[in-house]
């Protein structure tokens, strides 16, 4: 009897959480002209149309660029930081940790606005540059946290053993530490990538003519047209995110690091 209750509770909860996503997939597959569910007939025309809209193509590329390079930069900064925080007894370690974790606490929209007013306007940073910094800053906390957790699971005496066997510190790092936190780094990359790609508030103020991240572009499009292409695009993006995460889970057991 308890099993029935379980089915009902979980069934309703999952429907609530995932139902909308399913709806989007089908709404985007409508053969009709307007956004509706159930769709009037099924067709892939809106899915195909998405690829023809030029501004979507441009903003997709921008979002990709930001996600990839922003995350890589965040890792380049974050991995050494995580390593230092974990393996050294640093003065002010707590402060450093807080500073690096701060971007998560501050609402994105504020970050975007602040960067716009104090970096873009006065210092003449390009909007793209500001976006890049903002996205890097956003991913940094995730990079540090995930890699830290990976490092925590790696015992420190491994490096000491390597050094005793003749390695320099750098060699010990590359031969012993890096291979073992590879999973964590990869997980951080994927988490960062997805976070950056889907990010909206930060990019709100930092978008300008010709410089829009994909989510912002979608929002703008939505305000003008009410056709199913946004639904189709949303579905496609969702598939992309999911595929990435799914592959990551298969390859690494991603969930261990999050």
């Amino acid at each position: 009897m308890r099993n029935l209750t379980t089915y009902i509770i979980l069934g309703l909860t999952l429907t609530f959480l995932i139902g909308p996503f399913i709806i989007i997939i089908f709404a985007g597959a409508s053969a009709g002209e307007a956004l509706a569910f159930p769709p009037d007939g099924l067709s892939l025309k809106w899915y195909l149309k998405v690829f023809t809209i030029e501004s979507f193509r441009d903003s997709f590329l921008l979002s990709m660029f930001l996600a990839i390079f922003g995350t890589v930069t965040a890792l380049l900064l974050g991995v050494p930081a995580a390593y230092a925080l974990n393996r050294y007894d640093l003065p002010g370690a707590e402060t450093i940790r807080t500073i690096v974790a701060a971007p998560i606490i501050v609402p994105g929209i504020i970050v975007g606005l602040a960067l716009l007013r104090y970096l873009v306007v006065p210092l003449d940073f390009t909007v793209t540059m500001a976006l890049f910094m903002a996205h890097t800053a956003l991913v940094l906390p995730y990079a540090v946290r995930v890699v830290s957790s990976s490092l925590n699971n790696l015992r420190a005496d491994m490096e000491e053993a390597a050094v005793l066997l003749g390695c320099t510190r750098m060699q010990a790092f590359t031969k012993v530490v890096l291979p073992n936190i590879r999973g964590g780094v990869l997980a951080a990359f994927i988490l960062g990538f997805v976070t950056s790609f889907n990010q909206v508030p930060v990019s709100l103020f930092l978008s300008g003519p010709g410089v829009k991240t994909l989510p912002i572009d979608m929002l703008a499009y939505m305000e003008i047209t009410y056709d199913p292409s946004v639904a189709a695009l949303s579905a496609l993006l969702a598939f992309m995110s999911l595929t990435i995460v799914f592959v990551a889970e298969r390859l690494l057991g991603f969930s261990r690091y999050v």
Binding site: L17, F21, A81, I109, A114, A231
Partner: protein, 273 residues
């Protein structure tokens, strides 16, 4: 453990400086604008802000929805988490994956679906009109309910994840022990499960509350300018009115609320160690 402090700092500081210069500083300056006026530091900005009824409404509404979403997420979350924890190992993995799945999808996509569901020609209205419960479609979009639903769907996975993790830490036979001692399920929940998962509830609650407070897309799409929340108000103030003082005030309020919630989180998390 290495003791070469200089080396360590050299590794950690680039990240710290990056965050400091490109993030904390600009944000800090922005926030300080909330205190500025021609005569120096003052709280006048705040008084002016709260003087306007619209602003007060928005502030209270944001707070209210934050609490409601967190509360509802907690209730549903506990039920779902309890079910998940009692599933077989393979089923648990799959269901958990499904719960986490929405988190990986862009908030734009997740919110957009509600338009399809709640719109004039959406599913809900079609059903209502079809069943004859009303002659014309009801306005469901651009209401607080719509924003509530959108936010709930967005953040519930966080609560569920947090609670499942907390429940997994309940020692194995404690719940059956309480049952055998005579407790009905309500008593088991309040006397055993709740006290032992307190931390998870706080973590989840804080995440959901902060998330709901600082959400932009969902209130923007589902609430529009009829149901303004603090973040959408901020956007309006900047883009429409160029009112940077108000924007800074709002930013400050958001940060204070966010920060307090996070502090609470850390306190609770470290208190039990």
């Amino acid at each position: 453990m290495f003791f070469n402090t200089r080396e360590g700092l050299a590794l950690a500081l680039p990240a710290a400086f990056f965050a400091l210069l490109l993030f904390i500083l600009p944000v800090g300056i922005l926030l300080s604008e909330a205190f500025q006026s021609d005569t120096g530091w003052t709280l006048q900005g705040y008084f002016d802000f709260f003087a306007k009824p619209l602003n007060r409404t928005v502030f209270l509404r944001t707070l209210k929805l934050g609490v409601l979403v967190a509360g509802t997420a907690a209730v549903i979350g506990y039920a779902a988490a309890f079910c998940i924890v009692n599933l077989s190992a393979s089923a648990r993995g799959r269901v958990f994956g499904l719960v986490v799945l929405p988190l990986m999808i862009s908030p734009v996509a997740r919110t957009y679906a509600w338009i399809v569901i709640l719109g004039r020609t959406g599913i809900v209205n079609d059903t209502i009109v079809g069943l004859g419960l009303s002659d014309t479609p009801i306005r469901l979009l651009f209401t607080e309910t719509a924003v509530f639903l959108g936010l709930l769907q967005l953040f519930m996975p966080l609560m569920i994840i947090s609670l499942v993790s907390a429940m997994e830490n309940i020692p194995r036979d404690v719940i059956p022990a309480a049952r055998v001692l005579g407790a009905n399920w309500l008593q088991v929940f309040f006397k055993v499960i709740l006290p032992l998962t307190k931390e998870g509830l706080v973590v989840g609650g804080t995440l959901v509350f902060t998330g709901a407070l600082t959400a932009y897309i969902t209130p923007a799409i589902l609430g529009g300018s009829k149901v303004l929340m603090l973040e959408t108000l901020l956007y309006q103030r900047v883009n429409v009115s160029n009112d940077f003082v108000s924007a800074s005030v709002i930013a400050m309020i958001l940060i204070v609320m966010s920060f307090t919630a996070n502090l609470l989180l850390k306190r609770i998390a470290t208190a039990r160690k």
